[in-house]
């Protein structure tokens, strides 16, 4: 069970309080009507699923109800950093 630091509550809490919302930094296209089907499909269906560093969004479901981002190693489950929505990660995958 992960131990997650909520950047809004500023405390470490148990994973049970949270809910993972999938890959982070998937921005909704600003002009959906001019996206091709392929571009729209890319936006809603395709995800990286990397082995290693991944940026993912978490929701503090039973806490502050705020979303935030986590950089996590999908192999070791280490959480490398936690940052708010709108911010950019400091830890990124190599290459």
């Amino acid at each position: 069970m992960l131990h997650i630091y909520c950047p809004h509550c500023e405390e470490l809490r148990e994973e049970e309080e949270f809910h993972c919302s999938g890959e982070a930094h998937i921005a909704r296209p600003l002009d959906p009507d001019n996206c091709t089907d392929a571009e729209w499909g890319e936006y809603i269906f395709f995800r990286k699923n990397p082995r290693g560093i991944q940026h993912e969004m978490w929701y503090h479901t039973t806490g502050c109800r705020k979303f935030f981002n986590v950089t996590r190693d999908t192999q070791t489950y280490e959480i490398k950093e936690v940052y708010k929505i709108g911010e950019q990660p400091k830890v990124v995958a190599e290459g």
Binding site: M1, L2, I44, K66, Y77
Partner: protein, 1006 residues
Amino acid sequence: MSQKNRLQSGGRVDRSKALTFTYNGRQYKGYQGDSVASALLANGVDIVARSFKYSRPRGIVAAGAEEPNAVLQLGATEATQVPNVRATQQELYNGLVCSATNGWPSVESDWMGMMGKLGGKMMPPGFYYKTFMFPQSMWPTYEKFIRKAAGLGRAPTERDEDEYDIVNQHCDLMVVGAGPAGLMAALTAARSGARVIIADEQSEFGGHLLSSRERIEGKPAAEWVAGIVAELAKLPEVTMLPRSVVNGYHDHNFLTINENRTDYMADKAPEGQVRQRMHRVRAHWVVLATGAHERPLVFGNNDVPGCMVASAVSTYINRYGVVPGNKLVLMTTNDGAYQTALDWADAGREVVAVVDTRSNPQGERIEAVRKRGIKVITGSGVIDVQGKKRVSGVSVAGLDAKGEKVTGNVQQLSCDTVASSGGWSPVVHLSCHAGVRPVWSDEAIGFVPGPSVQNQLIAGGISGTYALDKVLAEGAKAGQEAVAKLGLAASEVALPNVRKVSEGTPMALYHIPHTKPTSRAPKQFVDYQNDVTAAGIELATREGFESIEHVKRYTAMGFGTDQGKLGNINGMAITAAVLGKSIPETGTTVFRPNYTPIAFGAIAGRNCGPLFEPKRFTAMHKWHVENGAEFEDVGQWKRPWYYPKNGETMQQALDRECVATRESVGILDASTLGKIDIQGKDAREFLGRVYTNAWAKLAVGKCRYGLMCGEDGMVFDDGVTSCLGENHFVMTTTTGGAAHVMEWLELYHQTEWPELEVYFTSVTDHWSTMTISGPNSRKLLSELCDDIDLDKDSFKFMDWREGTVAGVPARVFRISFTGELSFEINVQANYGLHVWEKLFEHGAKYNLTPYGTETMHILRAEKGFIIAGQDTDGSMTPIDLGMSWCVSNNKPFSYIGKRGMAREDCVRENRKQMVGLKTKDPKVVLPEGAQAVADTKQPIPMDLLGHVSSSYWSANLNRSVALGFIKGGLDRMGETVYYPLADGRVIEAEICSPIFLDPKGERQNV
């Protein structure tokens, strides 16, 4: 036969406290301090199991968690049955009842054993896969037979009445294992003031020191242990958990510990006590001091009762005062095991010989053995064992220098016990749980934990360190390291004084060769519990299973309750040898939680029975119960389903409720619908982005129905949203979808459109909602409400008004899910019951009839209204549902779902569309889920046109009504489709409009 193997003195058992227990229906005696295994051995019980596949008699092999054979069924009553209890880990108590798990009619004379003898050759590895997997439909039948014959224990058929609980703990340092390394680590950290938890699976702290005759600080080791334990007990920040198996080591230093609190004292927990407790520990640092398990050697017929692991023999002698035989042959690859020969001899019984696989072993213990006049046969191995139900002798032969071939002559020795030691396997299980692969160490001749990303340290046997002085030093060092990492001040801990013993180099040998090739030699067992032999592993490898993970699964090596604790390394070594590779090249399988089997009760804790899941009740629940409602679970809510009266059947009750509502007035408790209060200057804009229809012009006092789609254009929720003020709305959602919709709104607001000023508050529980529906609903409401003008022209359909109902402030919405004139009355939840009861006081003259969710479903289906989640399944657009009226293409913002609905697949011809279905025979009700076909003569697989999503008997229409999906259905009105059912019937139905009743909507506009 009373404890013939019990010594007069010695060990940690209390001979003044005799205990009686029952094994396989027969009474035996043991002492306080015994394990069931030691008591059975004291009584000379040789056979404790029949093996899984060959049904060979099996005896006790080990003394701890690694025991593969003595897996018993425990429990004096049906409710207290516990399967898979290792006799070596179960403490004896007075009145304990246990039995062998397998063997029919008994372990002594076993029917399958006969079959095993006849059929052994016919049961190679993969036998079950090859024989029983096909045809697959027969597997349940085969499995039942195999399980009965093999005997994997059984669960109780009655409820376990004992209580279990779960506690959450936090600590600076979690020490796993209270042997010499763990005790030193805990002491070192505790003296620096760290908050320490130390857990050990045994009843007492001390680990192998409890079974050892070593001396520490000039005292017997156990006395030294007592001193450390006494000091730890005095430190306020230290929690000591004996009888506690650390069963899982999870991510971010989270550990699950199963503490046995009463299993050691009685069949059932004493009144007021918890039987087992799960500790969920989050630790800053963890020291794994889990020690090592001794490996037996693999040789012919090495499973005959009387074959044991050398250190286990010493444990039974030194800790329990039990010598498990009379004449010992000891086979070893290392110096350490010589201690067993000394212990045996000191117990006054005969050591026939020590057989050492090394040609010229030198060391202090070897000298001591030789001085005692015990014969040491070097450069040799025990190649096979004679005897059926107990060892009667062994064949010993000379081996070549690598131990790969038999070289010398074979000599026979007479004995009843064979102890063997192939060295030690570090207990790396916990370190594997978090995904760390173990690495091979040539020095330790075993796998040790790989580097961990967690705050984890290791000390003692687990790191391949076996000499006591070094183990103690490693423990202290781990403690110091933890103290430093925790930022605490170091404290003084002196290393205890231990006499060093000089030892020769051990030999890396696992499998003793035979004069015959492995495939023809007597069975050489690697994994006792799964009957995996050296020959079986060779065969699996020849059949192409070269990955160790495949060998494991094909042969079942390492499966079962012991999870390969004893046999895994031997099996990997044999696989590697056959493949001509090294062990590190072949690799190892990994271990997963739990370390030992655990009771479901311990996992559930208090979260069972009424506390399994929270239940949600509306404010009117009491009334529903008193009025005989049957309930339906919707999410966590208990909703009235229907209200049977005077012995009515369900259908009779539904018919009455449906007719009463359409003829006069009915009432529904709709409090469970999700309600979200939305405020902010951009609330209206936000609604326009998450709903498919327009919201810009919805005036204060008005309500509007909306559909919510995902970005893929598929409907996932619906509901009515009302405008309370220019910047203030209240949204309703489906009962089951409330939490999801709330998260959905927050997601888009927080991540995509944070610039919009809008706030969401869940108010589901704040309001009680009761819907009165039917032609008399206005008359009824007017009797309780005098400050809202209820006139049809001033309070129109899809309006809402604020006022007072039954003297209580209320919001009244004129919306309808039945197609009748309806008013939805919302009051503060704590007034709900009062208003509900007032409505009934005044409603009697109108035959006010309460109805539940089922009647609600029927009434809305008569009108063709969808239920999101029943009629939708995530693959329907609003257009598919025939609800294009609810989709706006003129909104400036490309709302959620718009682009998705425009995808090529969503606009193609022949999509499944929602239609009504009239069965040709009006009395026949289509089953929900039935699939439509156009041509019943078509061979299987047939072309399926779509399914029935809602189907009911309508008393109002005196016929069945159904909603369903048909490919291109909206263009196929009047066509006939067929529903072939599993029972052979075919139901014929006509495609029609989904609106069965009042298509012009006149009834709600009165």
